[in-house]
């Protein structure tokens, strides 16, 4: 069964369009480097929650092949369930043949009605794909649809346009400040090892190295609870994360020490402004588990670096954007 905890996508705001089937049926999806499955709503979902979304209709696609396998998508106390099927998935002008994906059939909750996206396209590794479903990018590589086994992501800082995912290449106009290559520590998520993290000159966490996941499907910077407590204390921020917009310019940088390089976020990068009020773009990830201290480098981080996800060398490339 597939498990996609959808409450994690509450703050995600970058969406793209794909199409499935012949003729094409369009869907708005999150390109999520923090998961590996593709799913969209289907016409089998008749609840009002699905009525606000594009729904895939298998009977209108000449290339669809159904299965009897089920898929289960959990979000907090609710869930979606459905079936797995195969069809042509078109991303930009790349037509991926026989791509497996989830078609949701039931949606017992109501919040999906308000979801600004229809589905999720996972770009992480097959090892974490539910139901053993081959991820879209793996099929792109297997079917020789991309010239290089990598994709790259640019998220524009404030504008509503200009962001993109580039499949099969690197846009050199975004790498003029050089590319720093970091080896992956696991082929599951896009996971790397960090050596330490500092706020200004002071260490705030990751004292004995830690793991970080580069995740386009998470909006904020997610940090261990202890680090979060230290950051809001040192910055003098309320526990609800609200901060005066006037203070942004005086905030210290957060610096990630990774593979002999430093990658910094200024206050203007990690404070988010909306409707004239400002809040910290950092959230707590809870207490460290037996998996160790985990950090998530979400859109707050990715907006500052052009990120290259290199499957052929199992590396992440970071190019500072300013």
């Amino acid at each position: 069964a597939s498990s996609e905890p959808m409450e994690n996508y509450m703050d995600t705001s970058y969406y793209g369009t794909i199409s499935i089937g012949t003729p094409a049926q369009d869907f708005t999806v999150i390109f999520d480097t923090g998961s590996s499955n593709l799913w969209v709503p289907s016409v089998y979902c008749t609840s009002s929650a699905c009525s606000n979304h594009k729904r895939f209709n298998p009977s209108e696609s000449s290339t669809y092949v159904g299965t009897n396998e089920t898929v289960y998508i959990a979000y907090g106390t609710g869930s979606m369930s459905g079936i797995l099927g195969y069809d042509t998935v078109t991303v930009s002008s790349i037509a991926v043949q026989n791509q497996i994906f989830g078609l949701s059939e039931t949606e017992p909750g109501s919040f999906f009605y308000y979801c600004p996206f229809d589905g999720i396209l996972g770009l992480a590794f097959p090892s974490i794909s539910s139901s053993g479903a081959t991820p879209v990018f793996d099929n792109m590589m297997d079917q020789d649809l991309v010239p290089l086994d990598l994709f790259s992501v640019y998220l524009s800082k404030n504008g509503e346009s200009g962001s993109f995912v580039l499949f099969g290449g690197i846009d050199s106009s975004y790498t003029t400040n050089g590319i720093y290559w970091i080896p992956l520590s696991a082929e599951t998520y896009w996971q790397i090892t960090m050596d330490k993290v500092t706020l200004g000159e002071k260490s705030v966490g990751c004292y004995l190295t830690c793991q970080a996941i580069v995740d386009t499907g998470t909006s904020l910077l997610a940090v261990p609870q202890g680090t979060y407590d230290r950051i809001i204390r040192d910055l003098g921020v309320n526990s609800d994360g609200e901060i005066s917009c006037d203070d942004i310019s005086s905030l210290p940088d957060i610096t990630f020490h990774i593979h002999d390089h430093t990658f910094s976020l200024s206050g203007s990068a990690y404070v988010l402004e909306e409707d004239g009020s400002c809040s910290l773009g950092i959230q707590s990830l809870g207490t460290p588990t037996e998996l160790g201290e985990q950090w998530i480098l979400g859109d707050v981080f990715i907006r500052e670096y052009y990120v290259i996800f290199d499957r052929s060398n199992n590396k992440v490339g970071l190019s500072p954007l300013s």
Partner: protein
């Protein structure tokens, strides 16, 4: 042969729920746990 997919920055689900006065109720029913995405087994337990 390089393929670019433009991404648009839109409203978040949080903003949509807030605009409809549903955010508080949603967060009560669905405690927000960002870790659950990465450790589904641990979060479930």
């Amino acid at each position: 042969a390089v393929h670019r997919v433009p991404l648009k920055k839109g409203k978040t689900l949080r903003k949509q729920l807030k605009d409809h006065g549903l955010l508080e109720d949603f967060l009560k029913k669905h405690p927000y746990n960002p870790a659950s995405k990465y450790n589904p087994v641990l979060s479930a337990s």
